[in-house]
Subunit: 380 residues, 4 copies
């Protein structure tokens, strides 16, 4: 693995590295951790990389690595930069034959997303998008329960994602994470809805196996002077006639990272909350409520395949993240070996989810910033 | 107290009686429990009422009781019939000088609600509307925290009310509660939104002390053949610029009565869930999360004034209901004695909340049943 | 009902009155609320009793009431005084033909308890002991699950009762409840173990249907100068070979009233916590954990028979208390009518549980206050 | 790192490897994964080790590695075998100059533990004992709160560890983990108390900073034919006069791994449950209950130093385990560099905790298997 971005003080870069390292299957072999050479080199040094495998531009890294023999060069590139530096390195990596992991949201525009999708289809390379929360075993259990029909036809989806860390104008107080996320040039047309709304949207589609068709939204910017939405909510319509509500806020003062989903069908409902991720509550119309717990013998195959420890030994965010890397890596290794990846390895978000996410962002912004026509289709 | 409705098999009538009896201050002295004489008489007998105090029409009851001397007649009437039998008995009772308790939703139309409000103002009598959930001590603590400014300016309200009991067409299977709630003639223009959406709406306004100004809604009828909405959601706008989301469903399979509210201001947020009503979670921007527990020494005055047992001795739905009756009764007794009721006794929902509820229902139905103009004002 | 004790500032007297009144089946007709005449009279007045039905000694009340004709006199007496005033009024009431409700712990000594048992057996009168917590529907569900064998043979019982209200020497600061509970003359040989340890012990025997045979305990007095234990724990042995642990503390600073029980058999375990009393968690060896919720259709017959509201409308402490009164009253009414009470009405703690509680207290004190022979039999 | 034990199907070996790899600071360089050569070699191959770094006896590995130059040999050895193969390899590794990580419980006897302690003191090498649960950030927060005196003088400790996986005789059904844990030759004098009782005991001493002085226990073997205890409980006495209760069971049917601790002092109490490890509940005598959450800004320094992700991104068992490895590795690296390790790096269980654990096991077995003298001192 080669990394683009993720210099020493970047939060998400370190998460990607721990996730990639967890199972001993992926090795960081090179990186361009920053456009500032000194940061890139010091980052590489602390990661035990030889100096010649540390680059100061991603273009140089992709070019040079592509000329190395297979056993020496990186097998894939992981792009962990802000949104505006996703499209170019992803396209260049694909053009040079590298598989790609890219952080979310996918791109700045729907057009960029569609472009990358075409490139992936054309090259046959593998692309993973790190919608972390679909990596949790209990979420995979939920998806399989729904798609196997245990809840009956789905009618209702509630998905919510309250955070409080942007309650005040921390982007003016040196918070780097806040600075780029609230900057339209680096973040795109949406703030909160791009950063976390897309996670919620992806989770809703992942768990239900249903596509959202239309949204009716209200976006708000509560902190004076902020340039992008820091709060929003959307009514949702799904392809099968189900409806839903999506709530995302980064000014929900006091909340940490409280992503939660509830799905109701004709026979029962389920509920999963990211902050206690090892429990899946299932409520039935005709029998008592059940709680399915990660690691126990009662989890279905997709959950079990993505679990490392037995019941009662809680898994967390890093393990969920590592599941995306592990499934991606197994798929890549199969491809490298010329083999067909197993279906269970393909269980990670990819380019299609990237396109859907951008469509969601743009529909929600169009609906949420005016009072006229409210229902907006994701695919125009 | 005289009761209209609430014959032996009616759920809510028994709740009203327990709530009224709980503190030993209110005595049931007469009733017209059903329009079927035999049901009314057998109900009265099982309630230890003498036969002459059991009536077979509310008109007869109001007329006859109004002619009795003060010590012998009922002091107030409690109307626990379906929605379509609220307006007439309430108006007649007020016209004959009786105070009134009426179940929610208030009436069938905004016009009826406005009419009763005028009558209450004109007569100076007391009217209570049993929005039970505002009777919980922890809710009263929450309201006072918000109105005292502890959370700072309010930005966001999430209120939700999922139930599952109408997931199937139980109105065709002999469920009397379901039958009238899904019948437009008895329930009014809304089903789910009238029955429980109004509870959620009232709770949002009660806790925040803010009025909703506009709604943008989607109503659904999921069960084939049902005539009224059994599910819905609304984006909300409040008078101070805050926004909110209200979700109500009676087809959330597996849910019991999961009313919950979250309110976020600039300094923190709070969360209360009716099914575990003795805990109020408060999350702060600048200090660890706190949990306030009913009955402990850390509750504020409005909470303490509405609590019967010490911390750790859980209070429930009936106690919340009884708080409305107790505060109403103290207010009525003060009025009968010619005294001014204490401010704390006036803490029960009344005619103003009834009018607001009807405005909410009608705005939500106008918005939620079409795709054109979506934002509807509560007060046109 | 006539009441002995329970003057205006007494906590438990008010609880008894609310519990008795809740279902409209029991009427308070007389009382000796205090040995101070002025307190007794003012209490009676506020409870709307005519002055001639308020007494200033329980002896006078029992004597005079016993001479009234059946329709005018009290049917039973409720004794809500401190422990040292249980035996005499209970014996006298029984001797005069009155049924009895008495608060726990039953008496001061095992001998007194055995005495009352003999009197009850001889007179055929009904006696209820208010071990409130066995009145909760979810506890009744648990008991029936266990006794029906759903958990298999029982192996392990954990029962705990931490409170924090005696963490400091509040008996010196005017806390009346604390004053008598920490006074050996009024409380008996045990403090914490008598006040709440007996509740925990009763709950363990009630839920499992098993008798404890031996205890191995450690009692402590943490607050300097206090004369009775304020904390303790006991290892338990049950008649079927199961073992258990009982923990009770009144110096668990910050705790409210956190009674909790867990029972494990060969097939699964269950868990119930009084502070969230409407949920019963059942964990299985061979299927996912379930949660049974009071008021839903999944509760068994004893639970349903003791429930007033549907699922999601939480019941609390007062409803549990009222269940004891209701079942007692139905039993008494059957006896008065010369009929056989239904088995379900007999589901309340009585004189046998009173004797067991006193045996438990005395065994725990014998074991817990010395380091020599530790295992003490309940029945010597 | 070189590993002894942990062949492909061993649960805890894989956990050690993930934990060691997590932060990119520790590399597995050699191993003797099994005494079966084919298992050892295939394990090594799947871990990407060259064949010459895979050994078939730990003696060979220690001898050969000790002769390699510093840059090429392992820096420390990690012993993840059953209990009976702890003492010999640990002593030999120390004798050959290697630092040691060893799984718990430490040894078979107190004498062995004391021996290793002497060796560690004599060699100046570093030894870590993987009492995982003290690695959680919230546990470290708890310890610092207690030792800083925030709860006041400690009075009461409840620590419990119910598991259900040995409810049936799974050792006869091919469960390898169960087989050696229930075999006195491989496990030592205790089963449940050695396997998990020691975890609970260590947690109690770690959080409180207090030593237990005496135990009064009851051990049980519920599954017929099993040779060691599968359940037990102990009353505890601490050096400062505090008392406690320790419960451990492996026949608590339906439980996963429900380690939980509660500690009460004169000012408040705290509560931590391993299955939801990112929350620490703190209950106060004089203010509302608080919840401290891992990763938030409200955690103290020891917690923050052992946290990888921000609030709301849950950490789990593997991260806790990795904290022991990380702190150990930093300490070892400092020693290798001839520097003094920082105090915060020394925060991992070591040889002293190993000796205490063995003393606990032996005292509990002496007390718990007879009915005579019950209070047994840990240090005779």
């Amino acid at each position: 693995m080669g990394m683009i971005g993720g210099g020493l003080n970047a939060f998400i870069g370190a998460v990607h590295r721990v996730a990639a390292a967890m199972d001993g299957q992926i090795e960081l072999v090179c990186g361009c951790f920053s456009s500032h050479p000194e940061i890139s080199f010091s980052s590489g040094r602390s990661l035990f990389l030889p100096r010649e495998k540390v680059y100061t531009s991603y273009q140089e890294m992709i070019r040079k690595e592509s000329k190395l023999p297979p056993g020496e060069r990186m097998d894939f590139v992981s792009i962990v930069t802000p949104n505006h530096v996703h499209y170019d390195p992803a396209m260049m990596a694909l053009d040079h034959g590298f598989h790609v992991v890219v952080d979310k949201p996918f791109t700045l525009t729907v057009a960029e997303a569609v472009d990358i999708r075409a490139k992936v289809e054309q090259t046959g390379l593998v692309l993973a998008l790190t919608h972390t929360y679909s990596g949790y075993p209990a979420v995979k259990h939920a998806r399989r329960m729904v798609t196997d029909g245990h809840l009956g036809r789905i009618r209702k989806v509630y998905v919510e994602y309250p955070q409080g860390w942007l309650t005040q104008k921390v982007e003016d107080a040196g918070n780097i994470q806040a600075a780029w996320r609230t900057d339209p040039k680096r973040s795109g047309v949406a703030g909160c809805m791009g950063d976390i709304g897309t996670h919620a949207h992806h989770l809703a589609e992942y768990v239900t196996g249903l596509k959202t068709t239309e949204v009716c939204a209200e976006l708000k910017t509560y902190v004076p002077g902020r340039l992008l939405d820091d709060d929003g909510a959307a009514l949702l319509r799904f392809e099968n006639g189900a409806t839903g509500v999506l709530m995302a806020s980064q000014v929900a003062a006091g909340e940490e990272n409280a992503l939660k989903i509830r799905v109701y069908g004709e026979k029962g409902g389920l509920e999963w909350a990211q902050q206690e991720p090892n429990s899946l509550v299932v409520k039935w119309l005709d029998k008592p409520m059940e709680i399915y717990r990660t690691g126990t013998g009662f989890m279905n195959a997709p959950a079990a395949a993505n679990t490392r420890t037995p019941g009662g030994h809680p898994e967390g965010y890093l393990e969920a993240f590592a599941n995306i890397y592990r499934n991606f890596a197994k798929t890549v290794m199969a491809r490298i070996d010329g083999a067909e990846p197993r279906a269970e390895w393909l269980d990670f978000p990819g380019v299609e989810e990237g396109v859907r996410g951008m469509q969601f962002i743009h529909a929600v912004v169009r609906s949420g910033t005016q009072d006229g026509i409210k229902w907006m289709k994701l695919q125009e």
